[in-house]
Amino acid sequence: MESTNNLEKFQTIIDADTKIEPKDWMPEDYRKHLIRQISQHAHSEVIGMQPEGNWITRAPSLRAKLILLAKIQDEAGHGLYLYSACETLGISREELIDQLHTGKAKYSSIFNYAAITWADIGAIGWLVDGAAIVNQISLQRTSYGPYSRAMIRICKEESFHQRQGYEIMGKLALGTPEQKEMAQDALNRWWWPSLMMFGPHDSDSPHSGKAMTWRIKRESNDVLRQRFIDKTVQQAEVIGLKIPDDKLKWNEAKGVYEHGEINWEEFNQVINGNGPLNKIRLANHISAHENGAWVREAANAYAAKQKKEVLVA
């Protein structure tokens, strides 16, 4: 029952910064919001394996290949924890995947961009994972216990990912002229989409209101975006790359970097399915799922036979 009493009690728990656990009472909207957010996060980890996975077989050294493989494996692992966290809210993995395939559930739009050169693997680690960490560090304090714990675990691994990406960019930036050009080109293409990862400006963010009250989300899109910009600009300077924003400048009084306007038209187009690879990413996921159907059926049939044998014995 969503009585006023329950709601008030719930808000008191939230306000005291106590975690909500799966068996605790929660408003239906809180549950729905979490399912939407955690599943989107899980799907992002899994779809995010594709742009990087497309370079495993072409990684330019054995060391780079091993690191990339380990990173992608971590992402698959993050997908698993997050699916599990989501399942505690009373929805199955099968349903979650179905929602992804039918378009009901989304994933981070950044993964609809193409990783076309090796430098993009650097840019993804440095910028995309870098942006994700800023968001995830903040989410470690989210009010839902299983989500918070998944974030704490994920953050430990993400910082390694970001360093891996930055290391690739650094090597390229200090390499041959062709390599440096490759690095700058990747930064040019990934910078703005990375800023878009934080979502619309606070004034235009449709889901933020209740999410902040319920402490699912702890800091606003613009605050997080600013934090990312401030740390990344300096990192670019260290390796001699230029952030592709002519309006970028240090504001001494505020102690932050001012930046140019984000192309929200592009953001909306990609979210609505018109990014370079939306259709291909999803088709790949659907095709892997369909090609694996006979394997999953076999595993279920085998498990059922084993269970029967145990019962007979």
Partner: protein, 252 residues
């Protein structure tokens, strides 16, 4: 052939098998039937490429011409590779990959458990690590052979066909040449003939438990010891070596 040349060739053989099988498994990323299986396959790929890295590093050192493990992986042509044909085969469906993995993991456990006793300390050390990893690979491949063999009618037929199709590539695993003769005498290499019975026993036990038939040993393919490979290897190398070949002056 000197002992050093034999050792170089032998370590290349071991390194190349791990590298190319790892490459094939890595192609499963984002294509697995379940996310858990995706992770397991990239995990095995990681182990194998890690082993290749160690083995090729040692090969480069044995050769003593200033080449690195990356030079050996990225700058040799098709005829210089010494991996078995079976590891080059395209992945096929999940069952085909599992069939190949069972064959290779069963072979690797037999091989590396012996190589742990090699008089060459580096080979012995790499082998000790390999044994730990291969035990897991063998368990993974065994579990899935059982599920697919004794799962549904469709899965049973699919994986049986995979074993039937792939079987003619197993004979080559046990082929030996001058390299083996020299290194067996030195206590460095293993007599591959001595592994065959144990390998066959593992295969037979798993296949029978999975309600599958062990294919007959008929005509066997050959070639890899002489660098005569499948057509697939050229494509694998074209992809794997692309950046190193396209930017020869670059460091990554």
């Amino acid at each position: 052939m000197t002992k050093q040349e034999a050792l170089f060739s032998y370590t290349l053989r071991l390194g190349d098998n791990a590298l190319i099988l790892g490459h094939r498994l890595s192609e499963w990323s984002s294509k697995g039937p379940l996310l858990e299986e995706d992770i397991a396959m990239t995990n095995m790929a990681l182990d194998l490429i890690g082993r290749a890295d160690a083995m090729l590093k040692y090969a480069a050192q044995v050769e003593g011409k200033g080449r690195t493990e990356d030079d050996l992986a990225y700058k040799r042509g098709e005829r210089q590779f010494l991996c078995n044909l079976i590891v080059q085969l395209p992945n096929g469906d999940f069952g085909y990959t599992i069939a190949r993995q069972l064959i290779m993991s069963a072979f690797d456990i037999c091989l590396y458990e012996e190589l742990v006793k090699s008089k060459d300390e580096t080979i012995a050390a790499i082998s000790a690590k390999a044994v730990k990893e291969v035990k897991y690979h063998l368990k993974f491949a065994t579990d899935w052979t059982l599920r697919l063999g004794d799962g549904t009618e469709e899965s049973h037929q699919r994986i049986q066909k995979s074993f039937n199709d792939i079987w003619m590539y197993t004979g080559e695993l046990f082929e030996m040449n001058e390299v083996d003769a020299i290194l067996i005498k030195e206590g460095i290499a293993v007599d591959l003939n001595s592994l065959k019975a144990r390998w066959k026993k593992i295969m037979t036990e798993v296949l029978l438990e999975a309600t599958l038939t062990v294919p007959a040993d008929t005509y066997m393919q050959t070639g890899s010891r002489k660098g005569v490979h499948t057509e697939s290897l050229g494509y694998i190398l074209a992809e794997m070596q692309y950046l190193q070949r396209a930017y020869p002056d670059a460091k990554w």
